[in-house]
């Protein structure tokens, strides 16, 4: 048989999260003895090109985290046309009407669920600090242009609301771009408009967004004891904050296991290609809240 | 005979300038009507109104007895008016044929008919006697050739009224003759022709009538050109008497100061050498494309040279760029004012000070605004530059006044040793020419070397102590003032030593 070649396509190749997924997929490749081709696919157009490219390289299948879940049908068709097996990771692919595509096995966690964990973490901390929820303002650093971003922050906000957090205290701070500086500017304005709150919490689509909110709060003298920000990702940006000598308003980050996603999906696909078994239709992994207190354990549990 | 073209009390005002202040005159079919006036008198503005580029602020324009209001150039073209502008208006990247037929390209089945375009333009060019390929890009042609393309473009509009705004300012002998012949043919065909020039000989040779402008007003219209004495024209125009415009005075000149040895580069043919003495005015004559400008640019470090040295007072002038030449005291006033001379959107003061200010900076970096302003004002006065104030953007000045500003830029140099003027009086009125000649002589009297490149033979002969003639990229002869007669110089300049009386050979433009 031909040597096995597997593609691993991710939507934001520069993100540490996807870099980690790739790294663990490489581990699998080395163990099982297949070739891994890593391609970043920032948009639908590049995604189509990448799939064609894989076919040209005579790959037999690919793992994909598509730039948008609605690209499902395009992925399915392109794979079929090129006779490639597909497994999706992180985001579950759906068809034009929003139904999950059954022919593509999936491993991941929904953005909404991660967001919920963020919200729950914040609620727990609010309770632990015995804050009066009416005196707490919540900043949602929003980047709704990105579907995942919206899902995550919506999950967080829903969790807050479910715990009785007053909806009126939740303030949207739309960032123009997804970097820290834009989050800073957006959060700064939110703080200006709502000087009345004693305590603050912040959520966002990633660690950088929350970091921006934390920095903006610091600029106004709102420090660790009055600020709880929980990010998503748990990579370097979070690690830097959590390892600062003094605690900051960056309370923690919900970490997801890139190891599981990167390693397991590629192994599953390998097995499928080599006839050693079909992957399960859907596997959902869980995130873990990493804080100053537990970061070592969490990292270990997540296999970092 | 009724006037075909009539201006009635036409006014045009710009901020701070009354370019035209109630001008009236009329031109007849079958007449060449000359317009004269010093720089900034409003001649070009008048043509721009005629061409639909400007709307007049007052007055009427009548064509064939009917009052016309042109909203755009297109309207004017439709009304049978063609204009050859003072600032050439061509598209450098397009070919001769495409430029000539711009806006009127022939088509077949909706596609360009390139063959036909080529053919009709080639025919026209041949008919008027211009030796040019319709497929050449304008960017690759000399200014004179571009000018001829512009003329061809206007002629091909087959307009009833054709206006020429200083068409000969960048033409030399041969093209000028072609132009004259054309103008006369058009007159014979009953067209109405307007002709602007600062060269009086041309006006006498071509025009039937003339109108003189000064400061945006009409001074007088002479219905019979031939009857007007030259002195009268000049004094009407500049408002003062001028006797000998060249103002040449015998002056002793010193030792060889500038030695050019074996200078070689892309557009000259082989190494070229010559010397200029301190206090000498050296004229360079040649037909268009003879390589004079290119040689001067090599001397000025403006183009890369492939060989040769330039010695000034015995020391080699550093190569590198114009900055080195300027530092050594060599300056060049370039021939193409628009492309190489003016900083269009900068002020008059800025254009004057751009180079000279380096001598007078605070801390090597900071400007001395007051001194710069004073210097600018001084030269505005000395050269009679017509501008509302020194802060005016130079592009808003009339062509001749722009030329004076560039001259001022170099005359202001305190360490001036060699002054190279490439077509310095292009587009300049008689009075100002006289001013410039005077200045050239003053500069020479200070012991500087002056090189004047000119295509106007009388000018070269009138002001030079010595004349060098170039032909086809090489120096082909040298004549001291005493021997430099018109015939002698032309004999050297024309290809293959043909006498000027003989018919001109076809390839002399290239």
């Amino acid at each position: 048989a031909d040597p096995v070649k597997i593609g691993f396509l991710v939507k934001q190749a520069e993100e540490p999260w996807f870099q980690d997924e790739w790294r663990y997929a490489e581990v699998a490749a080395k163990e099982k003895g297949f070739t891994l081709v890593k391609i970043g696919i920032p948009n639908g157009e590049k995604m189509m090109a990448a799939i064609d490219n894989l076919a040209a390289q005579k790959a037999q299948g690919f793992v994909i985290c598509a730039p948008d879940v609605k690209l499902g049908k395009a992925v399915e068709r392109a794979a079929k046309r090129n006779n490639l097996k597909v497994v999706s990771v992180d985001d579950r692919l759906v068809d034009g009407s929003g139904k999950p595509i059954e022919s593509i096995p999936h491993m991941g966690i929904s953005g909404y669920q991660i967001g919920k964990q963020v919200g729950e973490g914040i609620v727990a901390e609010i309770k632990a600090r015995k804050w009066n929820m009416a005196e707490v303002g919540a900043i949602r650093v929003a980047y709704d242009q990105l579907p995942t971003g919206k899902e995550r922050t919506t999950g967080a906000v829903d969790a807050l609301k479910a715990a009785g957090f007053p909806a009126a205290n939740i303030i949207d701070a739309p960032q123009a771009k997804t970097d820290t500086e834009n989050a800073f500017n957006a959060a700064n304005i939110a703080l200006t408009k709502n000087a009345k709150f004693k305590h603050w919490v912040a959520v966002g689509l990633n660690d950088e967004a929350v970091l921006g909110a934390v920095r903006a709060a610091e600029g106004r003298g709102i420090k660790a004891d009055n600020m709880v920000g929980i990010g998503i990702g748990g990579a370097k940006a979070a690690e830097n904050e959590l390892n600062k000598p003094q605690p900051t308003g960056f309370f923690g980050s919900v970490m997801i296991s890139a190891r599981e996603h990167g390693y397991q999906t590629s192994v599953n696909l390998y097995n499928w290609i080599t006839g050693k078994g079909t992957p399960p239709a859907e596997v959902l992994t869980k995130g873990m809240l990493m804080t100053r207190a537990n970061q070592a354990e969490v990292r270990k549990a997540m296999g970092q | 005979m009724a006037a075909y073209l009539e201006f009635d009390q036409v006014c045009k005002f710009f901020p701070g300038v009354k370019a035209l202040n109630g001008v009236s005159f009329s031109a007849h079919a079958g007449q060449v009507h000359g317009l004269l006036g010093e720089n900034g008198a409003g001649k070009s503005t008048l043509l721009k109104i005629l061409g639909g580029q400007y709307k007049p602020d007052g007055g009427r324009l009548l064509v064939d007895g009917k009052e016309r209001h042109f909203g755009s150039a297109k309207d004017a073209i439709a009304a049978g008016i063609a204009i050859i502008h003072q600032e050439l208006q061509y598209v450098p990247e397009l070919t001769v044929a495409e430029n000539v037929l711009l806006g009127r390209m022939p088509t077949r089945f909706g596609l360009l008919d390139k063959k036909k375009a080529h053919r009709i333009v080639a025919e026209k060019l041949a008919a008027i006697g211009v030796d040019l390929s319709p497929d050449a890009r304008l960017a690759d042609l000399s200014i004179a050739q571009r000018q001829m393309v512009e003329i061809c473009k206007a002629i091909m509009q087959d307009a009833q009224v054709i206006a020429f705004d200083e068409p000969t300012s960048s033409l030399s002998h041969r093209e000028t003759e072609i132009l004259f012949r054309l103008v006369k043919e058009l007159r014979a065909n009953g067209r109405t022709l307007i002709y602007i020039s600062h060269r009086l000989e041309e006006l006498y040779a071509l025009c039937d009538a003339c109108t003189i402008f000064r400061d945006g007003r009409k001074i007088v219209t002479h219905d019979v050109m031939a009857d007007v004495p030259r002195d009268r024209l000049i004094s009407d125009m500049v408002g003062r008497e001028l006797s000998d415009i060249y103002d040449y005075r015998e002056r002793p000149y010193g030792a060889a100061r500038l030695q050019v040895q074996g200078l070689n580069g892309k557009h000259v043919k082989g190494p070229q050498s010559f010397v200029v003495h301190g206090g000498e005015v050296l004229g360079f004559f040649g037909l268009v494309g003879a390589g004079r400008s290119e040689l001067m640019r090599l001397l000025y470090n403006a183009d890369a040279r492939t060989g040769g040295t330039v010695l000034l007072d015995g020391a080699a002038v550093a190569t590198g760029g114009p900055a080195e030449a300027i530092a050594a005291g060599i300056v060049l006033c370039p021939e193409d004012r628009k492309e190489q001379g003016i900083l269009a959107t900068a002020s008059v003061a800025e254009n004057i000070n751009i180079s000279v200010r380096r001598n007078d900076l605070r801390g090597g970096l900071f400007l001395r605004h007051k001194r710069e302003a004073a210097l600018a004002d001084e030269f505005i006065a000395r050269l009679r530059i017509k501008t509302p104030h020194r802060q005016q953007e130079i592009r808003l000045l009339s062509g001749g006044n722009q030329q004076k500003v560039i001259l001022a830029r170099w005359l202001a140099e305190p360490g001036l040793k060699v002054l190279i003027l490439d077509e310095p009086t292009r587009g300049i009125d008689v009075g100002a020419k006289n001013d410039i000649y005077r200045i050239i002589h003053e500069v020479a009297e200070r012991g500087c070397c002056v090189i004047v490149v000119s295509s106007e033979l009388p000018e070269v002969l009138g002001i030079s102590d010595r004349v060098i003639v170039m032909r086809e990229g090489a120096i082909c002869g040298e004549l001291p003032r005493a021997q430099a007669s018109e015939t002698e110089v032309l004999r050297l300049a024309l290809p293959d030593g043909l006498a000027p009386a003989a018919p001109l050979p076809e390839r002399s433009i290239a």
Partner: protein
């Protein structure tokens, strides 16, 4: 050419130099292609070459009109947004009307409107092209988000989706459409009054105006064409990816402009060659393709892309350098 004043000695090198200058980019590309075929595994295969062409189909289409736009000394940053908007709008209209024809008409109509708006702003209201098209870029992107509520709009109509998939003599339809664009716009540029006038207003707008060219109207037309072709590219993209994505094609405008400039179109206007643009587009696609074939690390891809862009223009530069003086 009996009238040519060219002197026979000078003519020979001139002609060959002209030839060199006209064909050096295609030649260089051919050499590059041959080298890559020999050295990069899987590069020279039908699937890969077709894949490569498919990957630049959208850029290719839009580059054709961008060429005209740049040639007339303008600039258009709004193409990326227009692609997204046309795709989203087409998908929504398709969803509601069920008619492919209406959906396509809506997409193209929107593109025409956006283009016309750009044109009017720039030609008649004399807004700086960079700012005008940056503004429409933002507004159109906003519209794409608004009409889609920020979500991708799925497409279920198979006849629409098939368009992106269908192959004729082995070539996917999008590639054929792009090829047709190159032919049509090549003719438009070189064989029509429209093309000549475009170059003229880019080379010297004042001269064009004085020669009676309706400069403003022409510029509006150029932008309008650009809008329509871009919308078409957007619809084709939507069909290929089976959905209209409001955040599709971000940064697309720079890719297109780079391809044009690589192909020798001058940002100063007045200069354009359709063949050069084709090569520019192919270079962009080939670089991307080869890097993926060679599994170049994502971070090093940035470096490579930059380097290759530089090398391409430097080569072109060296060539034209000789001509300059």
């Amino acid at each position: 050419m009996s009238t040519s004043p060219m002197n026979p000695v000078a003519a020979a090198p001139l002609v060959s130099r002209q030839w060199l200058s006209d064909y050096s980019m295609p030649l260089a590309y051919l050499v590059l292609f041959a080298v890559l075929s020999a050295t990069v595994e899987n590069f020279f295969s039908l699937t890969n070459v077709v894949g490569l062409m498919l990957s630049v189909a959208q850029i290719g289409m839009v580059a054709c009109t961008m060429m005209l736009c740049l040639a007339s000394r303008d600039f258009d940053l709004s193409v990326g947004s227009t692609i997204a908007f046309a795709g989203v709008l087409g998908a929504i209209v398709l969803e509601h009307s069920g008619s492919v024809a209406i959906a396509v008409a809506a997409g193209l109509g929107a593109g025409a409107l956006i283009g016309a708006l750009n044109g009017v702003l720039i030609a008649y209201l004399r807004v700086n092209a960079l700012i005008a098209t940056l503004a429409t870029m933002l507004m159109v992107r906003g519209l794409a988000f608004i009409v889609s509520k920020g979500q991708a709009v799925g497409i279920n109509d198979d006849s629409f989706i098939d368009f992106g998939d269908t192959r004729i003599v082995g070539l996917p339809l999008p590639v054929l459409v792009a090829g047709a664009c190159f032919v049509v716009f090549g003719i438009l540029l070189n064989q029509t009054v429209f093309g000549r006038n475009t170059l003229a207003i880019g080379g010297n707008p004042e001269a064009a105006r004085l020669a009676g060219v309706r400069v403003e109207r022409l510029r509006v037309w150029i932008f309008l064409l650009q809008g329509v072709v871009t919308a078409m590219a957007g619809l084709i993209l939507a069909s290929r990816i089976t959905s209209g994505q409001p955040n599709a094609a971000q940064g697309f405008e720079l890719d297109v402009i780079s391809a044009c400039v690589l192909g020798g179109v001058s940002l100063q206007g007045g200069k354009a060659r359709i063949f050069g643009v084709l090569i520019g587009v192919l270079i962009m696609g080939t670089v991307e393709n080869v890097m993926n074939l060679l599994d170049v690390d994502a971070f090093y891809q940035y470096l490579m892309r930059g380097l290759i862009l530089l090398i391409a223009v430097l080569l072109d530069q060296l060539k034209t350098r000789g001509e300059r003086r």
